[in-house]
Symmetry: C2
């Protein structure tokens, strides 16, 4: 184990080696280690904030947008929030060692399928220091090593965070090599991570649609795609006005910048005269700009004409696209064309239409008469969220700690051979 | 839906469109359709065997090896076996629509996590007609469309099999576009399939290590890696001779050409004088050539000197590599270096060592005192086997029908919004 050469692959190998011991840690050892990490983050607040100040100054000099600066910025309150998030993850039940299946073969061999850590989890994300801390805590809680590649604008902040976490782990008797960053290798670090098949067991990209697309396309390591949400709400012919108005305003306005916010509302033609006016008025009162087709514009004031682009865009802002459709079939066809398979909801008083929608829409979460904002690990009761998977392999929808584990089969025999 | 242009992508789009209706079929509709497919295969036996004869003649002319010719060959008995396999798959329980999780949120929204078909399953495999039929039946039983790319040496056989299956589906009222082949596009067909992200939901390669490596490296569609098995058996210091001999002979000799056959035996130094002689003698009596290190050669006759290559090779023949190791730590280190993470077994009378081995070995199936030949969907009671996954994402170990499904969350509310 030479330390004279230090490449991205060397660090991933160290993470893999460390995964052997981290994967065997007891529930309490992992919990205690994370509590120590949380304390260490608070103790190191000044050091973290100073490094973050350097990143921010560098960002300002290089034209980093106000929005990205805000996501990057740490202060005392936010550092405390980082530590609090680690403590919440520490308090979650251990996802490792659950017996998921059990059977005795005719020969008497006893089989158990148990949950085990992946080994090494890779993360590629943007300049958000909270993702560094969250991802590390989630990986360690589930017995995994982690290899981090954050946005370069957070290079100094992440370096200090990783150093603080590693110091705390070492003090708690846990191999600090379980936490690695490849930030300092720049784009090469990301590239090595995407091609570290055999060293890294799963890669989770978090961030813009473009970042995710790059990782999904380039990576030979298995990826869990966490995704963009072009989220639809369908107002069926029978949709009650109060549900329609409350759910759409909640789904758009409560937190417009997140993936479970609604982007497009499809209105059944028979309900359009009854619903479009008051729903649009409620949205506009809440500050939303409605992009609508001609029929929407004929039923409400101040409609921005919708372009073809509006149907496929994730606004992530107080903008909403609205389209009148002939019937439920047309709504389902529109969703098939434009959905990113994250979350869709129908508002209807017709149970048969609700059940048809639930059965036919091919998305991670399909709802009837509820706000799409419920698609969230915390809301689902997982206690923490690794991301929201929009792929069908391994995990779909909000991912909790359980989704950071794999399984293995254990077979216990007494000399049995196959007949 | 133009039929004037016919590309590999067109066919995948047809498979995707068909998946919508196939995914909603009832248990009995899927079962009846497969029974009709089985009947149709038997009725078409002459047509299938004639096409297979053409493939065989073409293969002989082009130097196809005897072994590959045998795997390609169909006769009346083998065609009946194809039909019988389809009937067995028809008789399995429907893996779709199982409720895997259920919870009511504080707001009263009712959540269900249910199993759903993937949509479109892609398969890339070699010139084995039984894989064409098996894979299609497994995909349809789990409500999926399938896009097939078999070995070119089976082109004519597969074309007839696919035609027969599609005719039977159409007669049963099921969209025949659910079954597609891209064989006739040659290498381009395989390439399009590996890059059909958005059309194909999961790709399952079956065949040689090289085929799997190519698919894993090149594909941007999520892959389930089914794998090569450099399978190890460890003889601990306390291994009983009868278990050691019976299990190793069974694991090597019963069917040497399959992935769960043992390739390497690691013998604890303390047990070597007691075990190597009789185990090697039993193997040699069964026709096995033992490749051993110097220590093995000093304890038994007719040992072929092992080369470095022997430790990483999947013999798939009546050859076995044998190595004496210092202790359990050394055995675990050897397995970490050379295992393909398929199946490993320890033979021991020491429960603590057995449990340590079960905990520390990072393979899909880890055994104590049982033959590695038990790693098999049929043996595990799954009724059918899609393959044996050696990756950690989604499925690990023998895969049954359940592993050809994804999940989705259904949320049923009454106007709830997020607080």
């Amino acid at each position: 184990m030479s330390t004279t050469v230090d490449t991205a692959r060397d660090r991933m190998q160290l993470a893999k080696d460390a995964a052997r011991t981290v994967g065997l840690l007891s529930d309490s050892a992992k919990r205690d280690a994370l509590l120590a990490v949380a304390d260490a983050i608070e103790v190191a607040a000044d050091r973290i904030i100073a490094a973050n100040g350097d990143d921010l100054a560098h960002g300002r000099d290089n034209g980093l947008s106000e929005g990205l600066q805000d996501r990057l910025r740490l202060d005392d309150v936010r550092v405390s929030a980082l530590a609090a998030a680690v403590r919440e993850i520490a308090a979650l039940p251990d996802p490792v060692g659950r017996v998921l299946d059990e059977r005795t073969l005719p020969s008497g061999v006893r089989l158990q399928k148990v949950s085990v850590p992946f080994g090494v989890v890779g993360a590629i994300y943007e300049a958000r220091p909270n993702v560094t801390v969250d991802t590390t805590a989630l990986a360690l809680r589930s017995g995994n090593s982690v290899v981090l590649r954050g946005g370069s604008a957070a290079l100094r902040t992440n370096a200090v965070l990783v150093a603080v976490i590693r110091e705390a782990l070492a003090a708690a008797g846990i191999d600090p090599q379980a936490v690695q960053t490849v930030d300092d290798f720049g784009r090469d670090g990301a590239r090595e991570l995407m091609h570290a098949r055999g060293l890294v067991d799963v890669l989770v990209p978090r961030g813009s649609a473009q970042l995710i697309e790059t990782v999904v396309t380039e990576s030979s390591v298995p990826v869990i795609e966490t995704g963009a949400g072009v989220v639809h709400i369908v107002l069926d012919a029978s949709a009650p006005l109060d549900w329609a108005r409350d759910i759409i305003v909640n789904a758009k306005v409560q937190r417009p910048s997140v993936c479970n916010a609604v982007e497009t509302v499809l209105v059944h033609r028979d309900a359009a005269p009854r619903l479009v006016g008051p729903v649009v008025a409620a949205l506009q009162e809440a500050g939303v700009t409605v992009h609508g087709d001609a029929e929407v514009a004929s039923l409400a004031a101040d409609i921005v004409p919708a372009t073809d682009e509006d149907w496929s865009i994730e606004h992530l802002s107080l903008d909403l696209s609205m389209h009148v459709v002939d019937d439920l079939d047309a709504a389902l066809a529109h969703i098939r064309t434009y959905s990113t398979h994250h979350t869709e909801s129908i508002i209807t008083a017709d149970d048969a239409n609700a059940e048809r929608f639930l059965a036919e829409v091919d998305s991670a979460v399909v709802m009837a008469n509820a706000s799409t904002r419920f698609t969230d690990g915390g809301e689902f009761g997982f206690g923490a969220e690794v991301g929201i998977s929009t792929q069908k392999l391994h995990a779909r929808g909000p991912m909790g700690l359980a989704e950071l584990t794999s399984t293995k089969w254990l077979a216990r025999g007494a000399g049995q051979v196959r007949a």
